[in-house]
């Protein structure tokens, strides 16, 4: 997902790449994403559906490593990687994700009207 011409996920990736403690964990996250994308089973503690409010129109998922999280939205066409974050900021990131989902739903609705 893009905002102001920049992918939202890229902000997170750039941050993580600077930190040598967290950088290796990116590999883990990508491995779990790759497996799930190929329809392979993955342990529950690595990939799960988030329980957000029922008013939201799109389901949200979370890919996990020890310290890092990736958040995804389930669209009609497939899953979209939206944002990432650290474990310590999990609550804030989920709130941000909820806002993004609402914006995305509005954007979709407007597109259908057009």
């Amino acid at each position: 997902m893009k905002r102001n011409g920049k992918w939202l996920i890229d902000e997170f990736l750039e941050d993580v790449k600077k930190d040598k403690n967290f950088e290796p964990e990116l590999g883990e996250l990508y491995a779990t994403l790759e497996d799930t994308a190929n329809g392979k089973m993955v342990p529950k503690n690595q990939y799960r559906k988030l329980r957000l409010s029922k008013k939201l129109k799109f389901g949200a998922y979370e890919a996990k490593s020890r310290h890092l999280r990736l958040y995804l939205i389930h669209d009609e066409q497939g899953k979209i990687i939206v944002i990432g974050g650290k474990k310590t900021n999990q609550e804030r990131d989920i709130e941000r994700l909820e806002k993004i989902i609402k914006e995305f739903a509005e954007y979709k609705r407007n597109q259908k009207i057009k």
Partner: protein, 167 residues
């Protein structure tokens, strides 16, 4: 986003891939043979915490344990070393590495079948396509009444035999 070339440089990427593969193999074996965590722990002569670590995708033990686990499942782990450039080329051409893909496909098909079956049988997910809702409701009521009748007949027990009157 990271490219495949960049990803292959992370050891954690490959470790996680193999850990997940071992997890899938073990889950499949346990489902087929209806074994619990404790059973596996007994067979491997390890603690059940060890098995739960594997089932959480955290298998990072010795090579000998990997082979023991494989033999327990009636399989042999095949270790191959390929050049990074070869793997990159394979991925570019859209080829998937064969290791474990059959099993995960099987599991995927199984789970899909199961969800379809559940959809067929569950009351709430059933939506008649051709019939209107009222027709469907009437049909359901008829079915229900038939069932009730059957139950009544069963509760009554077998009918008494007819005997001829003696003149």
């Amino acid at each position: 986003m990271l490219t495949k070339k960049e990803l292959l440089k992370y050891p954690n990427y490959l470790i996680k891939k193999y850990q997940n593969e071992i997890y899938r193999q073990l889950v499949d074996y346990m489902e087929k043979n209806k074994l619990s965590q404790k059973d596996i722990a007994k067979k491997l002569k390890v603690s059940s915490a060890y098995v739960s670590q594997i089932l959480n995708g955290n298998f990072n033990f010795t090579l000998s344990k990997l082979i023991e686990l494989g033999l327990l499942m009636g399989k042999i782990p095949v270790i191959e070393f390929a050049d990074i450039s070869e793997i990159e080329n394979e991925k570019k051409q859209g080829k998937e590495k064969k290791a474990g893909s059959d099993i995960s496909d099987e599991l995927f098909q199984k789970s899909r079948k199961r969800t379809l079956q559940l959809k067929e049988h569950s009351y709430w997910s059933y939506t008649p396509k051709k019939k209107s809702y009222n027709e469907w409701e009437v049909a359901e009521k008829k079915k229900y009444l038939k069932l009730k009748e059957k139950q009544k007949v069963e509760a009554r027990g077998p009918e008494p035999e007819l005997t001829k009157r003696k003149k």
